[in-house]
């Protein structure tokens, strides 16, 4: 399940971007977004999802359960 960035919480500090082992995080017009196709929750790379661990504002990088396939999975 990929992570997503809650835009209203994000301070655009860019701390997450270089930490992502999958290069899934990019800036677009001043806001940061995670490409769900690239995000692997850092499994196989690190013990913790890097974006969550480095983000200065809690509950900004969260699991994205909105994608249809995850909802179906329950």
């Amino acid at each position: 399940m990929p992570f997503k960035i809650i835009a209203s919480q994000c301070t655009s500090c860019s701390a997450c971007e270089p930490e992502c082992p999958n290069v899934a995080i990019a800036e677009k017009g001043g806001t940061f977004m995670i490409d769900p196709k690239k995000c692997t929750e850092c499994i196989g790379h690190f013990d913790e999802p890097q974006c969550v661990a480095v983000c200065p504002v809690d509950n900004t990088c969260v699991l994205d359960t909105s994608l249809a396939r995850y909802q179906a999975r329950g």
Partner: protein
């Protein structure tokens, strides 16, 4: 503070200070304290160190009257969380560390440096101080230094960090000729650190509590040692947090001194619920003026103490205490004609140095004469000044007061008190006088160029003597001349010497004159 290697480098205040603090010959130390010798003679700093600090407004109290610095906000990311910082907040009207109005790419930053240096010839220092941690953004930080050095090789490069990533970047810092590094060190005891830092991000992991603080302090002290071993000047910033690290900072001061730190800057915590920091929301109080001074005094002698810090924003521009960042927004930069000319900048700065030397020489003669006994009495006085070491500001126009301690040793600068806080909730214009009095309540007198009848009466009622007879005169001579008359009046019974109370350190927005 620091004395020059030759008589022409002597500064007025440095002489004042050396008289004020001289505790007998033979007391000397490598990185602090007082050294015997003619005030017009040898330095207690090696010549190469003096070269590094004489034009750096943060490292030399007296350079800050003459030279300006600028910060570029290229480093928004941070790798630690501090309870006195709120990363969600920035505001154009705020003046405190971490606050910026816009973030820049290294290329934009280099262009901005050119524009500012073309406009302000006394701008000698480029610093990167956030809004996050410059070393959590190493690519952006070092790229900026590289670009700036290419076009403006005469600028001093300066960097401010929390120290967590510092040991990894020492080679790069040295290679890029970064001469000054500031490390914020608030503790060396991880138990205390756990109360200040909720977490750190290190080696791809988030650490919390005592474990986090232990890693942080180890890395900070290791980085400090590595830098000083290479001859890079290190300033230590410490935030004084009452009941958390206030007593502990004496230990910190010793620890950083033994590792070769050059200067220690103990700053009062900035804390208010509307800043949204953990400390602010918890109601953690800031220190009072008396508490801050007592701590700084007890660390004095261990290290050079910095007392002229304005806790400036991460994109501040200009002389300390006079933020001109609003003049150099990206929008306005487009209209500035950039003519970076090293020669004319050097010529300007040579003139500044000549003026400094001439003034210092003249004052030296006066001050030697002053070394008469005035007894053991010490008083604090506030001075309204626009700079040039003169009493040259009207009471009502003052954005800050400089505070001096007067004693038989002379006039010693001990700090400043900010007073322009119109935009702070609860401090409306009508309450302004009251808040000014609260800010200088520990002072016996306030020196101003001019003052109206109403504030004069209120000050007298509050026990602070308004003194305007030395308008546009030098601060040191005038305050001491007044001090003599004050002591005379005490001796002949005209007035009674009473101790003053404590004062509040006012915080928040410093509204730019621009």
């Amino acid at each position: 503070m620091h004395r020059g290697s030759s008589s022409d480098a002597i500064e007025d205040g440095e002489i004042t200070q050396s008289i004020a603090e001289h505790k007998g010959c033979g007391k000397s130390s490598r990185s602090g304290g007082v050294r015997c010798g003619s005030p017009a003679g040898r330095s207690d700093l090696p010549a190469e160190t003096w070269e590094k600090v004489k034009k750096h407004p943060c490292y030399s109290e007296h350079a800050h009257h003459h030279y300006a610095r600028m910060h570029v906000a290229v480093a928004p990311a941070c790798n630690i969380q501090c309870n006195y910082c709120n990363r969600k907040y920035d505001c154009a009207n705020e003046s405190r560390p971490g606050v910026v109005s816009e973030r820049l790419t290294p290329e934009q930053a280099a262009r901005k440096v050119m524009a500012v240096a073309s406009t302000i010839p006394q701008m000698t220092v480029l610093g990167i101080a956030g809004p996050g941690d410059p070393l959590a953004n190493p690519e952006k930080t070092f790229k900026t230094f590289e670009l700036v050095h290419k076009v403006a090789p005469d600028l001093k490069l300066c960097l401010s960090t929390n120290g967590l990533a510092l040991p990894d970047h020492i080679d790069t810092i040295a290679k890029l000729n970064v001469e000054h590094v500031t490390i914020t060190i608030n503790m060396i005891n991880p138990e205390i650190g756990a109360k200040i830092y909720p977490w750190i991000f290190y080696n791809h992991k988030r650490y919390t509590g005592v474990q986090a603080a232990k890693i942080l302090t180890d890395r900070q002290l290791q980085g400090l040692e590595m830098l000083t071993r290479r001859g890079i000047l290190c300033k230590i910033n410490s935030v004084m947090i009452p009941e958390i690290n206030d007593q502990h900072l004496v230990e910190v001061s010793k620890a950083v001194k033994s590792r070769g730190a050059f200067l220690h800057n103990i700053m009062p915590l900035i804390s208010s619920p509307n800043y949204g920091t953990v400390f602010g929301l918890k109601g953690q109080r800031s220190p009072t003026a008396l508490e801050l001074k007592a701590l700084q005094d007890s660390c004095e002698g261990e290290l050079h103490m910095m007392r002229h810090c304005r806790q400036c924003r991460a994109d501040a521009i200009g002389l300390l205490g006079e933020d001109r960042s609003a003049e150099f927004t990206t929008e306005k930069l487009a209209t500035i004609d950039i003519k970076y000319d090293v020669e004319s900048r050097n010529a300007y700065q040579a003139k500044v140095e000549n003026d400094r030397a001439a003034k210092a020489a003249a004052k030296h003669a006066d001050l030697v004469e002053l070394a008469v006994s005035l007894g053991d009495t010490k008083v604090l006085v506030a001075v309204a000044t626009k700079g040039s070491a003169l009493i040259n500001e009207h009471f009502g126009h003052a954005k800050e007061f400089q505070v001096y301690e007067l004693s038989s040793g002379g006039a010693k600068f001990i700090g400043h008190r900010r007073v322009d806080l119109y935009c702070q909730g609860g401090y409306a214009e009508e309450g302004k006088l009251e808040t000014i009095i609260r800010a200088i309540n520990d002072c016996h007198a306030v020196f101003i160029a001019k003052i109206g009848g109403c504030p004069r009466a209120e000050l007298i009622k509050a026990g602070v003597e308004p003194v305007d007879q030395y308008a546009y005169e030098p601060i040191d001579k005038s305050t001491i001349a007044w001090f003599k008359t004050y002591l005379d009046r005490v001796t002949n019974g005209a007035i009674k010497h009473v101790e003053r109370g404590d004062a509040a350190i006012r915080q928040g927005a410093l509204i730019s004159a621009a």
